[in-house]
């Protein structure tokens, strides 16, 4: 199985969301990261046949999905960033409904719904109305519906948004277990999610591929670019204004900063091992502060 994106362009009126984007995806997990407005959601919606490219082609196993969209949809699992539910249904009914829409035969439908409910740990509340579900539970129902047809191509857009830390870990473990024999495309703002499960990392910026690499390779390129320094409050504010700060911790002895910079930002700064988030910041040149 193979998904190929050929010189994709997407324009909304005068605004270009994607520029000449080309990628080739084979089984495994690809983490798609990038700042807001980078074009991640547009790209995912195009692959999911919800949006047509302005130019370029998307090929699923060599066939253009513009004309063979049905072939792709039969093997597609998609979790949108924001999705609605039918509040009249229970969790189990909602999944059975979507399983029926996905064309699962009735002989298989009930068993498969029970399986995915177990996978996302919702068996105990499956017969409660969706109206009573918390945000995290709704998100897990969304994940469950994407898995109903055992998809060959699984697209998940910000899947861990709204999940508590234990649910996030559980979801990451689940995603990691799903990467065999399928293509998983994971879009997220949470770099640690990608670090944990993705074997390939694509950074999008302003609709272009800024970097197509592996998490390990990105970390290697960031070596020597991340610094740690403890300074007083005034100096910390000065550094914060001049450099990318990934972490800022207030301590009794002063303020400890982790700075992302290709050059030494302060005479007392020492080089430290970069995290993937810092490597990402270095690549995108964006600023993020964690206090």
């Amino acid at each position: 199985m193979e998904l190929t994106l050929e010189r994709l362009n997407k324009r909304y009126e005068q605004q270009w969301a994607l520029h000449q984007l080309s990628l080739r995806l084979s089984p495994g997990m690809l983490g798609l990261v990038g700042p807001n407005g980078a074009g991640k959601t547009s790209l995912m919606r195009m692959i999911a046949t919800l949006l047509e490219p302005t130019e370029g082609r998307i090929l699923w196993n060599g066939q253009d999905i513009r004309t063979h969209g049905q072939a792709l949809r039969q093997v597609l699992g998609y979790l949108p960033q924001n999705f609605g539910i039918y509040p009249e249904f229970t969790g189990r009914q909602f999944l059975r409904y979507l399983a029926a829409m996905k064309g699962l035969p009735s002989s298989l439908l009930h068993r498969r719904v029970d399986e995915v409910l177990e996978m996302v740990n919702l068996e105990q509340v499956a017969d409660r109305r969706l109206l009573t579900y918390s945000g995290g539970m709704k998100q897990r129902i969304g994940i469950a519906q994407a898995l109903l047809n055992d998809p060959e191509l699984l697209i998940v857009d910000e899947p861990t948004a709204g999940l508590d830390p234990s649910e996030r870990v559980r979801f990451r473990t689940l995603l990691a277990s799903l990467t065999r024999n399928r293509i998983v495309l994971l879009s997220t703002h949470i770099i640690s999610d990608v670090e944990a499960v993705a074997s390939r990392l694509v950074i999008l910026q302003e609709g272009r591929v800024l970097s197509d690499t592996t998490p390990e390779a990105l970390l290697v390129t960031a070596r020597g670019g991340v610094w740690s320094v403890t300074v007083d409050q005034a100096t910390a504010l000065h550094l914060q204004a001049s450099y990318q700060v990934s972490t800022m911790v207030n301590q009794v002895s002063g303020v400890t900063l982790r700075l992302v910079s290709p050059t030494r930002p302060h005479e007392a700064a020492v080089v430290v091992d970069p995290s993937l988030e810092e490597a990402y910041l270095l690549a995108t040149g964006r600023q993020a502060v964690r206090v």
């Binding site: 919800l50 829409m101 035969p105 068993r111 898995l147």
Partner: protein, 315 residues
Amino acid sequence: MTTIIHARAPQRSTATERTPPLLPVLIWELRRVLASRLFWFQALGFFCFQLFLTWALHASEGFDTVSNNVQLYASIAGTSARGLLHTLPLVLVMLVLLLPFVTADGVTRDLSRRTHELLMTTALPTWAYVWGRYLAGLLISLGLALLLLASILGMGMLLHLTVADYPLPQIGAVLFLWVGMVLPATILVSSFGFALSTLLPRLSTLVKVVILVAWIVGALVIPRGLGNTTTPPSWYVNWDPTSGITALGLLPAYAIHLGPSITSEAQLQQLILSMENKMPDLAGWFAPHLLLAGFSLLLVLMAALAFKRSRDVLT
């Protein structure tokens, strides 16, 4: 604690195992609607209101005359064929007020609820999705139309048992009027509302308002404006989907001439009884009404063909 998660692969289904795609859409949409308690409350409320309306209109029309300086009065049964021609356009308006809200949002509801993307990324064929949603809405609308029929017959029988001289509803005549007036109107409004809302999802509310206003004008305002003095043109009588003008055109066939032989209210009532349950003349208007319903299906077909799974919007 270690959590072990196994991702098991389901047996992939073959084409021969799959059920026809229209059926699951239809069945599940019906299940979804019927799972809502609000729907059952609304249906019950509608039925009770129709019962009340039938009761309130059971003697809304009457004939009075003077014989030997004595004022004579006899009323027309609201559930008789003649009475229904007078009351059905109004009763039908009450049904039509509900129908766009039942059917128009069959597809647009998925857009507003954000369930659209979940459905459009399944292998469900577009035609099955649109027609399944339409047919589910139509079946629910027809269910409401049947409640209307049940309220007319049920209240008619109750009135027959409790009110002196109130005639038993003639089931044949009531059924013919239901099939010729209520059924086509139900299909027409359901199809119009669904098709226009599906084609213009952002204007869904406007579509409903336009249908309701147009219907009220056609069924109540124009017939009142014409009154009893103006004879509407026959094409309008035959092709009026609201049945307001159709009823107006059929009423002259029920005219009675009160002669000097009528000397008591019992005689007058007997004369009215012999007239009011006469089967209405079906020639001219019955087939056009059914044709209008048939044409409206073409609009749904157009909506199904024009419906796009992908939407070129940023969000």
